[in-house]
């Protein structure tokens, strides 16, 4: 059995440092290379996913733009900053405003649940909900997005005075959601996240009819991509 260079004299410290430095350098170059080359695809994937989610939670929408709250009003921005709170405005083919897609996040049973819900301010209704990220228990908590019945509960849901999760089969009022048997915490978390997000934005959304108009994207692409 050969043992490579194990039996030679002990190498000097300089040699050890040099070996590690070279290894680190090559590794660094390789990592930056792969990061740079995959970044465009990863960003495009994320944008496409978000776009699909916005269209999913706001029926009848075919255009969208990102909106942020600045100087006491909502403004359309093509590239929202990293730590700015964003909602997405959904517009139909004739660029008439339909509703907001509101991203929200909060603690679930295992980890943060991130979701997007569609909100129509004229009717004060939640019209759709999609879970973007969650690590809820497979088979139980993951029903918050796998159970079509539960997701459908958010199809026309009143936010007045607030959304309440009730025991399965007992929901009758327009603001009541049937919770999931065996996954009460996850279902409650979804409801709580929507309520909290709604409360956080309630004072910042303009009165119905006053929503920012759709800004046509420039020739370079831009809005909502």
């Amino acid at each position: 059995m050969t043992t490579g260079g194990r039996n030679q004299r002990a190498p000097g410290s300089l040699r050890l440092v040099a070996t590690l430095a070279v290894a680190g350098l090559i590794s660094g170059v390789a990592i930056i290379g792969i990061y740079e080359s995959t970044l465009p695809t990863i960003t495009a994937n994320k944008a496409r996913e978000l776009r699909a989610a916005v269209f999913e939670v706001l029926p009848g929408v075919s255009r969208m733009q990102a909106l942020v709250y600045r100087d006491g009003g909502l403004v359309a921005v093509p590239e929202p900053g990293e730590d700015e709170a964003v909602v997405y405005g959904g517009y139909d083919e004739r660029s008439a405003f339909v509703g907001y897609a509101m991203p929200g996040a909060g603690p679930g049973f295992q980890d943060t649940i991130a979701l997007l819900y569609g909100y129509r301010p004229d009717e004060r209704l939640v019209v759709g909900m999609e879970i973007l990220e969650s690590r809820e228990t497979p088979g139980l908590g993951d029903k918050i997005y796998k159970d079509a019945e539960f997701v459908a509960e958010f199809g026309a849901l009143s936010v007045e005075p607030e959304i309440v999760a009730v025991r399965k089969g007992t929901g009758t009022a327009p603001n009541e959601v049937d919770a999931i048997t065996g996954a009460t915490i996850s279902a409650n978390a979804v409801v709580r996240i929507i309520n909290e997000t709604h409360a956080a934005w309630a004072g910042r959304l303009p009165p119905p009819g006053g929503e920012p108009a759709f800004v046509e994207p420039g020739p370079e692409g831009g809005t909502g991509r």
Binding site: G5, T19, I34
Partner: protein, 214 residues
């Protein structure tokens, strides 16, 4: 003889020295991401990429790397390959990447990989090291897949997302949950050891009767 050597290095990892069933290495991803067959295969492929790449480099440069800093060098090599696998999966199959989550970066800490560098790749020529890595990775893939398939079939009534049973099938949710991983792995290890013991008994038997006969 020369040809047989590399073939032997490849084959040993799949069954006799299977990293999971015989060496019981790499338990963390083994139990964590095998709740569906697709996840298991994605994890197996990512591990294979990292293991083969690292073994190739470590074996090629085994005479250049001083023994005092070998572990650090191995880790740098492994971590680089893991990062490449991480970004590649994120770009190509974001859905799978989302499911595997933290366990892709954790391949760095898979003792199977560092173990092969220390025990094999740093001592043997490149060709043998690559064959050994391929064999071990295939063995790991087989083990992950067998666990993932069993758990998905019983826990979800499906394989690769295709429903196998009718509507009346009640999924054993526990099989997808962590305890299901332990149960299934325990049973598979039991079977593997039982089989190995039977085989050894049989070989001893044959040898014994031949001894008496001759």
């Amino acid at each position: 003889m020369k040809k047989n050597a590399s073939y032997e290095e490849f084959v040993k990892g799949i069954w006799r020295d299977n990293p999971v069933f015989a060496q019981v290495l790499g338990m963390c991803p083994m139990l964590a991401v095998t709740n569906s067959a697709v996840n298991a295969i994605a994890m197996g492929m990512a591990t294979m990429f990292v293991l083969v790449g690292s073994s190739f480099l470590v074996s090629t440069f085994r005479r250049v790397i001083p023994k005092q800093v070998r572990i650090s060098c191995f880790i740098i090599v492994i971590a680089t390959f893991v990062t490449i696998a991480d970004y590649t999966l994120l770009a190509l199959v974001p859905r799978v990447h989302k499911e595997l989550g933290a366990f892709i970066p954790l391949i760095v800490a898979n003792c199977l990989i560092l173990g092969r560098q220390e025990a094999f790749a740093s001592r043997y020529p490149t060709k043998l090291a690559v064959m050994d890595a391929l064999g071990m990775a295939c063995g790991f893939l087989v083990a992950l897949f067998s666990l993932g398939a069993v758990r998905e079939i019983l826990g979800d009534g499906a394989l690769f997302g295709i429903r196998l049973f009718g509507e009346s099938f009640e999924p054993w949710v526990i099989m997808i949950l962590p305890p299901g991983g332990f149960l299934t792995l325990g049973l598979i290890l039991l079977f593997f050891n039982w089989f190995t013991q039977k085989k050894n008994d049989f070989l001893a038997d044959v040898a014994g009767s031949e001894g008496r006969g001759g």
